[in-house]
Symmetry: C2
Subunit: 342 residues, 2 copies
Amino acid sequence: MTALNERKQKILHAVVTDYIVTAEPVGSRTVSRRYHTDLSAATIRNEMADLEELGYLTQPHTSAGRIPSQQGYRFYVDSLMGVAPLAPEEEKYLSGVYLQLRKMKEIDQIIQHTAKALSLITNYTSLVLGPQLRRSTLKQLHLVPLSEERALVVLITDTGFIKNKIIELPQALNEDELSRIVGYLNEQLAGKSIELLSAAQLKQLRSELFHKMDLLEQMLLLLDESSSESESRVFLGGTSNILNQPEFKDLEKVKHLLALFEEGERLSFMLETTMDGVSIRIGTENRLSEMNECSLVTATYMLHDRPVGAIGVLGPTRMEYAKVVTVIEKISNKLNHLLDVL
Amino acid sequence: MTALNERKQKILHAVVTDYIVTAEPVGSRTVSRRYHTDLSAATIRNEMADLEELGYLTQPHTSAGRIPSQQGYRFYVDSLMGVAPLAPEEEKYLSGVYLQLRKMKEIDQIIQHTAKALSLITNYTSLVLGPQLRRSTLKQLHLVPLSEERALVVLITDTGFIKNKIIELPQALNEDELSRIVGYLNEQLAGKSIELLSAAQLKQLRSELFHKMDLLEQMLLLLDESSSESESRVFLGGTSNILNQPEFKDLEKVKHLLALFEEGERLSFMLETTMDGVSIRIGTENRLSEMNECSLVTATYMLHDRPVGAIGVLGPTRMEYAKVVTVIEKISNKLNHLLDVL
DNA sequence: TTTAGCACTCTAAACTTACGAGTGCTAAAC
DNA sequence: GTTTAGCACTCGTAAGTTTAGAGTGCTAAA
C-alpha cells in the first residue's frame, strides 16, 4: 500500500469529515469549494480517482460522489483525525453528572448513569460493562445465618461489588464451627483476584476442609459462578439513537441490532476483548456480523490500576470518531476517579 | 349503544380475527367466503356499514375493507374471544423453562427468563416487573462490620429479595451496641410490610433511638429508599419483535417506543397500576401517548397470596389477544408456584 | 501538472397510467 | 321485509415514464 502524499491526505480528510456530517456522497466540487480552495474540482477529481483505486474511497454508483471505505475510515482514525474538544456546555453537563454520582455509592447506579450520559452526549448507543467480578479482588466473605437451615453468603470485592447467595446449611454445624470456617476462608482468600482463584487452589481448599464438604461446596460454588463468564452485566443507553442514523432506515438491520442488544453475553464479549486504552473497531473489524456496518469505540476503566470494566459507543461506521474518542476518554477518566474513592 | 344482534357479533368476530392474522383491511367478500358462507357479500356489506356507524369498525379510506376500531377490539376482548389453547410444543417449552428455573433461586434470573419466555412464545415485547420491595415484608435486617468505619446493611424480604447498602459507622459505637441496635430494629420491624412502614412509625423509631442518630439515619435511609418508587426493576424481552409488526414500519413510532423502553420509571408505572387478575388495555386506554397504538396485557403474580409484581405483553392493538391471555395466565401461574417454594 | 469544457451516466423525484379490490346503491328475487 | 345480484364509482398501490441535476471521466488547452 503506497503511502499517501499530503494532498491526498488532505482530500481524504475532507471527504471523511464532510461525509460524517452530511451522510451524502461527497463530490469533487464540494471538496474544492468547501475545503481546499486553491485546487480546482478537476484536480480533486483525479486525486479522488486515485484514492478510490488505492482503496480509501468508494462510489455508491458510477455518477455519484465518493464515500470513505472501511480502509478510508481506518486511515482517518489512525493518522488524520485530530482532537475534538467538547463544547463548554457538554463539559458542564458531564461534570454535573459525576458530581451527582459522587454522592451515590451504588455501583449499579453509577454504571447506569454513565451509560445514559454517554449516549446523551454522543447521540449514539452506549454500552457499559459493569465491574467484572472476575477481575476483582476478594475482600471479605461473610456468612449471615438466616435460620436453622439457611445462611446468606455475602461476597465483597474491592470494586465495591457485593454478591449474595443463600445456601443450605448442613444441620450438623454449630455457630462456632461456622465462624471458624468463614474465618479460615477469609484468611486464605482475601486479597486474591477472583479470576486467579485457580481451580487448583479451590481444589486444595476443598480437600483441606473436606470434612465440611457440603457447606464448603456451596460457598465455593458462589466463587465459581463469580469467576465464570455468566455475569454479563452490560448496560445500554440510547438504544433508540440508532434510528436517527440514515444508514439504519432499513428495518432489517435495526432488527438484528436490537436483537443483539438483548444478548448480554455477546455484548460483554465485545467489550471485554479490548482491555487497555481506547480502541476503535470499524465495520468488519468487529467480529459480530450484526455490527458489520457499525463502529465501536471502547475504553477500559480502572480500579486500583487494574482494568475492571469497559465503556463503549456504538454508531454507524460514519461516526464522529474525534468527538466520541474525546468523550470516551473523559468519561472513563471520571469513572476512574469516582471508583478510586470507593 | 345498541346491543349487537348475533349476526353482527359473528361478523365483527370474523373481521377482528381475520385482521389480526392478515393485518389487511377485511372486505365483505372475504367475510362471506371465509367465515359465513350462508350470507352474501352484499348482506355482509350492509351489516358492516351498520357496524361502522355503531363505532366498531372503521375504514382506512373510502374503498377499502374495514378494520376494527378500538371499541371493536374492546367488544371482541370482552364478549367475543374465546380461549386459545397453547400448542403442545409451546406447553412443553414453558414447562421446560420453569423446570430449569426451579433450580436457580436467584430472583433476577427467574425474572429475566420469564421475560424471555414470554416474548419468545408470543412474538411480542414482554415486560416483567420484579418483586417490589414496597410490596414485600421485611424478614431480617443484618449488619456486617467491614472495617472500623464501615458496615454493610443487609435487608432480606420474604420475597427472597436481598438489598445491600454500605453505611458509615459513627466511631463511638462498639460491637455490642451495634448488635443491640440491630436486634432492636429486627424486633420492631420484622414481618412488617415495607410499604406500610409509615413515616410515623419510622419517626417513632427515630426518636426512640435518637441518641444513635447517625447510624440509625443511615439504616432507615435504606428502608426509605426501598419503599420509594425509585426501584424500577423492569425487565424487557423481545424488544426487536415490535419491528415484525407492519404497523411499526414507521420509524418514528418505533423510536418513541424504544425511548420509552429505556424509561424504567414509566414502564413500571404501567405495570403497577393493574394489580389483580389479567388486565387488557387497548390503544388510548393506556395513558402513555407512545402506546396509543399498542395494547398491553398484564397480570400480577403472587407471593404468599399477595401480589408483588406483574408481567405484561406489549403489542400492536391488532394483537392475538386470546393467545396472549392464555400465555400470561399460564406463566403467572407458574411464577406463583415457583415463588411459593422460595 | 493543472484546469476548463463537455459528453455521458445514473439516481431520485415527479408525474402518469393501469389495475383491482372494495364500496354503496338500486332494483329484482325470495 | 330481507336478501342478493349487478353495476358504476372511488381510491390506493404498483408499475412505468420523464425529467432534472449532480457528478464523473476524458480530452485538449493553459
